[in-house]
């Protein structure tokens, strides 16, 4: 095969990337340079060396219960299809016809044994095998073509943990279990909520915002923003609480934030794991507001009192780089899809334990819609704040953020009592009052970010 001419595009070098993170633990300082959020060249590198070079979440096995079920998603820029073949084996492939590249699986999800490319009709089965090339015999192909393999290209790595499916376009990644490390306990706290596991409630919601993907990455673990950003939501909850107290019944769902004073008096903590994963937690004083609450006795019996208590906590888990489970009262699965340096698409699902009561499900839905939907009371204020940051970061004469400093005085290498309860050994942890608004949790995200970028640049 002839070597393609060398590309002569200017790419930021190692020194440029290294200068984007100011990580000086001995001085009690950490910061991220604003170019990380606004430089399109950094975005290109993130696609190649982060999203397309490490494990990405691609779906739940419960989305593909039957043979020949498939779903489509992306890894970085690449369209992929995850499917169960006729024998029930899961696989993940680039969703791109080997002939001229057309998307073969056009729908978000579906079922079917054979899938024909819309362009010239090459046909693939759910094992990714090319089973028919249109008019192959009459095609006067050369022996060189006949010697080639025409199947859909498998991703380099594909594996799962507790029903969460992950794929990597690069073979050079640690095994999934090692990659996730003790962040797996955060997944267990989600998956074990139902005796038969979890499910996605029908109905997905997607939205976009005009800002960098890392604002979303951070915001999920950002306890500091909650009260200032969501004041109007808190106001609505207070009104509902008063109304509920006045009437004996109410049509609106409760929320753990109805008594914001009680929340503000509770503790918040964070665990940071290798490879950029983090878990933010809060010892939620309003357990009765959780749709999961009626299941507490069953949970205590099945998983024990300690883990059941942790399931009632507020927990936001980020599995770097593209998936988050956000659980305050209801629970959301968020998939981050960066589109450009200043544009991001989010795909979100309501997650529920299988078999919860009809009443609990209604409560979960209403809480979810209120808080998590881009059509609700809270998420639009988050995304609007990210957009404000993106526009503000256009002040190119300013270099460094000051948003990674809260909690540095409270952080501790390794675990703590709470980590021991979960049986985990994080890289570092922190715990404090609600108002501490820890920001050390982001350091782990950016250390993994920098490591992957450096590795990728060094190799290319």
């Amino acid at each position: 095969m002839p070597t393609p001419p060398e590309k002569k595009t200017a790419r930021p070098d190692l020194a440029y990337i290294e200068r984007l993170i100011d990580d000086r633990p001995a001085d009690g300082w950490f910061s991220v340079h604003r170019d990380a959020f606004r430089d399109p060249a950094v975005f290109e590198l993130e696609m190649r060396h982060i999203f397309e070079a490490t494990w990405n979440f691609v779906g739940l096995d419960s989305q593909l219960p039957n043979p020949n079920d498939y779903l489509t998603t992306t890894i970085g820029r690449a369209p992929v299809v995850v499917m169960r073949d006729a024998e029930g084996r899961l696989g993940c492939f680039l969703n791109s016809c080997r002939h001229k590249g057309a998307i073969v699986f056009a729908a978000n999800a579906g079922n079917g044994a054979h899938h024909s490319c819309p362009y010239h009709g090459w046909t693939y089965d759910t094992g990714g095998r090319c089973i028919a090339i249109t008019s192959q015999r009459q095609g006067s192909y050369s022996p060189a073509f006949d010697a080639m393999e025409h199947n859909l290209a498998r991703v380099a790595k594909f594996d799962s943990y507790r029903g969460l499916l992950f794929a990597s376009l690069s073979a050079d990644v640690p095994p999934l279990d090692e990659y996730l490390g003790d962040a797996r306990r955060g997944i267990d706290l989600v998956v074990d909520q139902g005796p038969d596991g979890i499910e996605l409630v029908p109905g997905a919601v997607s939205f976009t915002y005009n800002a960098n993907w890392k604002f979303q990455l951070e915001n999920s673990s950002d306890t500091y923003h909650f009260i200032p950003t969501h004041t109007s939501y808190i106001g609505v909850l207070e009104k509902r609480r008063t109304a509920r107290a006045a009437a004996s019944s109410s049509t609106t769902a409760g929320s753990i934030y109805e008594d914001i004073g009680a929340q503000a008096a509770s503790r918040r903590g964070s665990f940071a794991f290798p490879h950029g994963h983090v878990l933010m937690w809060g010892d939620n004083p309003a357990v009765e507001a959780r749709p999961l609450y009626p299941m507490l006795p069953e949970l205590e019996k099945r998983v024990g009192k300690t883990l059941a208590k942790w399931m009632m906590y507020v927990r936001n888990l980020t599995l770097f780089p593209n998936v988050q489970f956000a659980e305050n009262a209801s629970m959301q699965l968020r998939i981050i899809r960066p589109l450009a340096v200043d544009r991001t698409e989010m795909l979100a699902y309501c997650v529920a334990p299988k078999g919860e009561s009809a009443q609990a499900r209604i409560k979960r839905l209403r809480q979810y819609e209120d808080f998590f939907n881009p059509t609700g009371f809270a998420t639009p204020d988050d995304t609007s704040a990210y957009e404000a940051c993106q526009r503000g970061d256009e002040a190119h004469t300013l270099d460094w953020q000051q948003g990674y400093a809260r909690g540095i005085g409270a952080m501790k290498a390794g675990g703590n009592t709470e980590a021991d309860e979960l049986g985990i050994k994080p890289d570092y942890s922190s715990v404090g009052g609600y108002r501490m608004g820890d920001e050390t949790i982001f350091h782990a995200n950016y250390r993994a970010w920098l490591e992957l970028l450096k590795r990728g640049i060094a190799r290319s």
């Binding site: 409630v201 009104k239 881009p374």
Partner: protein
């Protein structure tokens, strides 16, 4: 219930105007206290969710109090997504009066385009879809007992508030 098309269309136009003029009290007054407001999410490319008690909705309020909550947030001055409010122009058309189903309510279907302008980013967007209103006769005129909005373009750019459909 006896309603004529012109009367029903006039109510839909009035609702559109009140939202565009941001006359929230006037808008809320069109709704009955037990009015249901429902905007389903989509299950697939072709199918919206059908049961708000078992499936996700974009918005679901069982009574007008949910709409009042939205207005409270809009007015609070404390929602960054709502300060300043986007400007809108609602276009309601294809108003069709459905056959009387004997329920005591009149069913009216229509289509909408809502042009939404974000004054900060100087960007605009059009939300479009179909609406079914269920109307009740009250002494002050027709009132809305239920509104169901099928939003056709459901990938939401940053936000969609109650005044954007």
């Amino acid at each position: 219930m006896k309603v004529d098309l012109a009367e029903a269309a006039a109510l839909l136009n009035l609702e559109a105007m009140l939202l565009d003029e941001q006359d929230w009290d006037g808008w809320l007054a069109l709704y009955e206290e037990n009015a249901e407001f429902w905007m389903p999410a989509w299950k697939s490319e072709t199918e919206p969710t059908a049961d708000p008690m078992k499936e996700l909705s974009m918005i679901y309020y069982a009574s007008r109090s949910g709409l009042e909550d939205r207005v409270q947030r809009i007015r609070s001055g404390r929602s960054v997504a709502s300060t300043p409010l986007r400007r809108t122009a609602h276009m309601v058309g294809n108003v069709i009066l459905m056959p009387d189903d004997g329920s005591g309510l009149a069913s009216v279907k229509s289509s909408f385009n809502v042009h939404v302008y974000d004054t900060r980013a100087k960007t605009q967007h059009v939300f479009f879809g179909r609406t079914t209103h269920r109307l009740a006769r009250r002494k002050e005129g027709l009132g809305i007992r239920a509104k169901k909005v099928i939003l056709a373009n459901d990938c939401i750019p940053t936000m969609l508030d109650i005044y954007c459909v």
